[in-house]
Amino acid sequence: MIWVAIVGAAIATYLTRSLPFAVMLGGRLPPVARRYLEALPVAIIAALVGPAVVAPAGTLTHGAEPLAAGLVIATVAWRRSLLAGVLVGVVTVALLRMI
């Protein structure tokens, strides 16, 4: 039974990823659709961040994650470096979770 579930889940996972690639939009898109698609990547990545910051373990944060997120935004905006932002974020969260 476990294997049926795993194969079923594999198919479900693959369908969500492959459908948009298999059915490619042809020709020119209307400007409204283009503006929507241009804004899409930022919205999706920000939407991935939201729950991890507000509700890291499924429950309301104790404050460590929002504070670290603020520091990451400031660091990356200032240094234009992903690595610096990640280091600041991880160290901040680790320290704050110790208290």
Binding site: A12, A57, T92
Partner: protein, 180 residues
């Protein structure tokens, strides 16, 4: 499982459901819901992958994850054109994920709670950085904040399976209605 279902959040959900002896259709439906967000990501990436033949695109779809999507988006937003970036990152992640799965099976019990070291926040911090570097217009800032808050709110309300697809699909509407 990692070889076939290359999807972190879904795999953790499945382990949880297996331990509760959930019925198979419930497990498959949960995975489908959790992964609906990839419909949006694939749609967003399809403009870049348009140049590839169908077989390559379908392979690219198999290794599409939140992480490879985010890294590729960052790459394209910085003006990058090469698709090798996406494929290299995505395939490396697939290999590492499966190596780490085996390592976890062997020594997992000895590590304890990794959350203590803040490692789980590394991905979140990377995503935040990618968003910051990807901001081009003032509207992008608004869209990012709205998307993060809506998704966070939904997750708090117990709707975490549909939080990302809902917020990700709704927030770009701001760009449609807001002339910049």
């Amino acid at each position: 499982m990692s070889l076939l279902v290359f999807a972190g959040a879904s795999q953790f959900a499945m382990v949880q459901l297996f331990s509760q002896a959930a019925p198979t259709p419930v497990i498959i439906a949960s995975v489908l819901f959790i992964n609906l967000r990839h419909l949006l990501m694939a749609t967003s990436l399809s403009a870049q992958l348009r140049r590839l033949p169908l077989t390559r695109r379908l392979f690219g779809a198999f290794v599409l994850t939140d992480e490879s999507f985010a890294m590729a988006t960052g790459h394209f937003r910085r003006g990058g054109r090469s698709l090798a970036y996406y494929f290299t990152f995505a395939i490396a992640l697939y290999v590492l994920w499966n190596v780490a799965t085996v390592v976890g099976i062997v020594v997992g019990g000895a590590i304890g709670d990794p959350r203590r070291f803040g490692i789980d926040f590394a991905i979140t911090a990377t995503f935040i950085g990618i968003v910051v570097l990807a901001i081009r217009h003032r509207a992008d800032v608004l869209i990012a904040i709205v998307a993060a808050l809506v998704a966070g709110g939904l997750a708090l309300a117990g709707a975490s399976t549909v939080a990302v697809i809902t917020a990700g699909a709704v927030a770009p509407l701001i760009a449609v209605f807001l002339r910049r």
